[in-house]
Point group: D2
Chain length 422, copies 4
């Protein structure tokens, strides 16, 4: 793929952002692009690529249906769409080139449920490739990830690489809901070395981070308060106000004491409640997440959060239920692979700076795949591809410097080749 | 109409509850029922019944479209539906019977956006006339109001009443959004005496309240917080958290000091915010209402509420905007009409108890119509029709004792006749 | 007593405000003044005037000692002070004048723990009779009440009144802690008619309210949170933060739903917690009060408040204990006495307006004495003496128009005489 | 000093804990002990030991007077007490032993305002040396620090040390109020190498940490809310409630977003407000502290805290004022001294484990002295002396293992000697 091809593909994906488990257009586009460009040995799609039972945080059928219809209208290949039924998205592409190690490359493909900026200073808006799905946005660069994954496959196919390359196009990273389903699939079991990538992360274009650590363990909590409604004018005293319970919980969740052992995080990311201005609300909901620098710290936050929520509910006479949300562990990058990536990056054109290590400071469900490979005796490494991004990750003005697409393809291709040689 | 007819009509309306400005099926059913039963002189429908510019709290086009489609599927008269375009619902039916006063009767017709109980102890569930619109419910008895309005029209048409009777089938009472649009229409200007009714209100079957007062002045506030999103794991410090602002506001709104001059009310009836578990929320919304025993007290709550909200927003670095919500004044029932109603009720079969006066303790936009008539030199009266109701108003198990439908028709018919004689 | 005498006495008491159960100087001054002016038949002081076991909200010994010492330094009669040991303050003065009814007059004598304004526009500051006890203030006019009580005694002693007059100089009204101890004393048992008074209450000089009702039932709650301290920098996660529990409680206490049945009140009047900036607070306290228009409404607030507090404590891992606080019931004024007071007031010089009834909208432990008399078959009445007061009751700039002292003496003297004649 | 002497002195100081700037008995005891044991060249006491103008967080005169009186009653040397007037506590002891470097040793001497456990399992309670000052406690081991300081002086005086040793007995560390006043005194200017110590810190008896870093920068904020009082029953709507403002602030202070760049801390350590149960509170206060792993992070917390507090005040119609509180910077231990301490500790009897580095995770105003020495071209090191402590620092059951007193004296004496030799 020429640099122009990479840019063109990334922009097409950017125009069609799809949230977790709704990557219908995205998966179809990846499949058709691969079929056009690469002579693959295997291409596992949808339910064949993932262990469906291990999917987490799958939206309900009506939401899936809406996105499937949008993918259809956007011209996605109907034959592929049929295979993705019920929100079984993603793909695993396999290239077998004789004797040699099995190298995995994991790229995630989903977008975020947020509106993209329409400010003329925002390049996608100015350049005509802003999100066409209002309220969804590639605000974390996964459009670039998918593009790099295809680029690496094509380059390795053309190279004299010896071994097997598997590229995991993983759905549902943003809800930490997809990593486990790929880690539980059969495709990961024979992987000797796994590379995962992320673009941006506050590193400028031309900078490569050979090995990223500092993944925060994360858990999502779905919290449902149920109280009792009443006429807000006539008998406010008869209500058991679920919104008061929710607000009390939110105030106190953010006030969970900081922990001396390391980073902790809490977010009440989505809230809603009530039905009408004149009814004391009898229902409210929080979709929260807790994180910790270690699993213990994440569990500390989880325990505290549940305790607070239970008491906030009880304070206002409400019941509360917790649903099992998505979850991901921590992980570390193996030095052996870090050394290879650093070495390759140092010799890659356009790369002006190589950091050996950095901390993510966020969460990732690539950690499920990294753990699976490491548990099997293999090694794993999470690579950062610097890119100048005007807005922060997840913000309305996030964008990537498209020059870094080529850096990603070059460094990863080089690393895959080097691994097979070592 | 026989008692069976009343029950049957009420149950049909109960099955098809429609929220404010979405009373498409309801309006069409009223129109077809009237055309079948009564030889009206005028029947003003939709935009001809109301002053469209004075509608408040109209939902957006997509919501209107959903309900219009449902009405169509439910078999509503297509010709009527066409006249209701854009959420212009409601009707005014006019019966002219020679010289005499113009008497108005106002009944409201909308339902609430809440789920109806499916408990087998809940009569509509057991009797097969539970809401067919999941998430909407006639939880305040407006299905009975509309039914009584038609019943009175038919009875007066058959009587030797002298004068003009206008029945106002008013939409959008629950959001206090429809009363003003009827009060601003030309139809109210010549009304000499206005009767409005409400069923239930904690009065048992067989009890009539001749004159209700104690309407709380009410105002709805739509509050939009906007902050800045950030990655909740990576850079929580970069966010300006609209949900924290909202929760702080909710906690303090309910804490507005009680006022010694009389009743005050506050409710954060609907809240929502945020987009994903891992994004610091940059948007949140509260749909609140404030009430007061007098307009001054309502304004006290309104002022305090806005002040609290502004500071809660600013505290968390958020902007906030207030939208004009619906609003209704207070009102009182005129003694002259109270005396007539009490007198008639005392002589009505099935009425076992007559209270001269009671307090509503809630709000009503019938007050716009009452004020309009009183400002024109006429008089007005708000009548309570007792009914045993298992659940409270606005609760999932609210229901009416259908025996009271006949009481309503009898008392109101008698009162209209008496007014024309006096 | 001349008007000048009344003013002079009131100013002396105003200069020496003493909080509940610390009215050492005040009681001594009353006793010496009475001994000088009136030939009493009985004068019960301190433990002889009250049922000591029924005192509520008595401060601890060290606080009592401080105030006793101040009274001593201010020149209070040492012999009287000795009789008041342990915070047994107050007095009951008895005048027997032959056959006739026993009429009681209850005046309260304590001050508030608040700083008086030193603004030159504040008359006591300008006139040199501002509080000499920094942090205490007669901000509710009890200095005037005590003065009027003495004035009435002197006038009745000089009149041809037939019967017995008992004046109850009651301590500790502000903490609703003294009324019960006088109601449980033997002195109340033979009272046939009881008058209680209050000055001000937003009524102007020259206005008399013959019978006040609308006493809010009240209860005080002492709430102690205990958690666990920790080093706020080193191990914040090890603390169980009593101040967080307290703040959560306060926010939610003020948010207890308003009740449709009538007035309710909540106040977190005094709070404190923690020991140092760098220690996670392990202790916190709230002195709260709840009120209701009826005892049921007060109990509704009490129940809700305790429930909220328990959950706020538990939410932050704290224990909580409630101490029995002071309490007072509601009461009503008997029409028979209201008529007498209205009649007398209408004939009193300087009285320009007589209201038959008004609502207090606050609480009072005179209700204990009123109930005791009414339970014994007697009647009771709470009389309002209007006075122009620049600041509101309990505020730093409260003051009385001294002209109203004479009105109080005149109206009450007239009423006592009239009662004995009827 | 024998080990018994060390234990005996430490227990005496433990019995007489004195808070910041009230170390009257403590200073006097140190002075008399030194005069008895060591032939000092200079002994600067109180105002001669510190730069009085740079004291921070000095209590008011009445509090100082109470503690001075207690010191007197406890038998403190009257001549020393006279020199400490106005809360000028602390001492600097100087030993000159010929040519050589000037070595400083800084020990802090103040206690905490918290109650000590009287549980029989708490060694000071069982052993009869529990705090005699109810409500004050050596809960951080400064009694041990002072003891070690004297022990080192005596040992160095008996050694053949060449150079000058200055021991800084620093007051008011717990309020980070004393460090600056010693850093601004003339005594620090010629110090070439400074050692500071802390006992415990979760390190067991026998463990020495050669160099501690990770001091959190800290700032104290005194926050005064002022609103308007009102009668809580009669006119709650007229109040501007300072306790509601305070509670809103507390809830939101603890909710300041965690920062990705490092540790942050917030504590509302002391709160109070209001005057009586029946008065809407017009005053409230928070004594808070903010900390950060760097000065920038501390400033982030400071800025956020002030912004929250201002909006919480304004939300409830209150004014707010911030007073300048105490403050301390961060600091690091110099490798040169860390190496010396590690080397000496490794050769010290009873020391079973030597850590080269650890993080404090708290704050310290020793950093002012460390910075001053480092700014002058010298070096500084903060040494940890492990001790088994049953309760955490600042908790009611904190205690030291007295065996570690000797370890402290030995390691510090050895380090001082080694420094003079290098």
């Amino acid at each position: 793929m020429s640099t122009d091809d990479l840019v063109s593909l990334r922009r097409d994906l950017h125009r069609k952002p799809e949230p977790a488990w709704c990557e219908f257009y995205t998966t179809a586009r990846i499949v058709t692009e691969l079929e056009k460009r690469v002579d693959l040995d295997e291409l596992h799609v949808g339910p064949d690529a993932i262990a469906g039972d291990h999917r987490m945080a799958v939206p309900d059928d009506s939401e899936l249906a809406v996105w499937l219809e949008r993918a259809r209208e956007a011209g996605a290949d109907e034959a592929v769409l049929e295979r993705l039924e019920g929100g079984h998205t993603g793909a695993v592409a396999v290239l077998e080139r004789g004797e040699g190690p099995t190298v995995g490359l994991r790229v995630d493909i989903d977008a975020l449920p947020r509106r993209e900026s329409d400010d003329p200073d925002h390049a996608p808006a100015a350049g005509g490739f802003r999100s066409e799905h209002e309220g969804a946005m590639h605000a974390c660069g996964h459009d670039a990830h998918a593009t790099i994954g295809i680029g690496v496959l094509e380059r390795i196919a053309e190279s004299n690489f010896q071994g097997t390359l598997k590229v995991f196009f993983q759905p549902a990273e943003e809800v930490v809901g997809g990593g486990k389903s790929m880690a539980e699939s059969e495709h990961i079991t024979d992987v000797d070395s796994l590379l995962a990538i992320h673009i941006g992360l506050d590193h400028p274009t031309g900078e490569i981070v050979a090995g990223i650590d500092g993944f925060l363990a994360v858990k999502h909590l779905e919290i449902e308060f149920s109280g009792e409604s009443a006429h807000a004018g006539g008998h406010p005293e008869q209500g058991r106000n679920a919104v008061q319970a929710m607000a009390t919980a939110v105030q106190n969740l953010y006030g969970i004491p900081r922990h001396n052992d390391g980073k902790t995080r809490i977010n009440a990311g989505v809230v809603e409640g009530g039905s009408a201005a004149n009814i004391i609300p009898d229902e409210a909901r929080i979709l929260a997440e807790v994180r910790g620098e270690t699993t213990e710290l994440m569990n500390y936050m989880d325990r505290k959060a549940r305790h607070i929520v239970r008491n906030a509910a009880n304070m206002h006479g409400c019941d509360v239920e917790f649903s099992t949300g998505a979850e991901a562990p921590s992980a570390t990058s193996d030095q052996e692979l870090v050394d290879i990536v650093a070495d390759v990056a140092g010799r890659t054109e356009g790369v002006s700076s190589v950091l050996e290590r950095d901390e993510l400071g966020g969460s990732e469900d690539a950690t499920f795949l990294m753990q699976a490979v490491q548990d099997n005796g293999g090694n794993a490494c999470y690579v950062g591809i610097g890119t100048d991004h005007p807005g922060g990750h997840h913000s309305a003005t996030f964008d990537v410097d498209e020059e870094s697409l080529q850096h990603g393809v070059d460094v990863l291709t080089g690393a895959v080749e080097q691994i097979s040689r070592d």
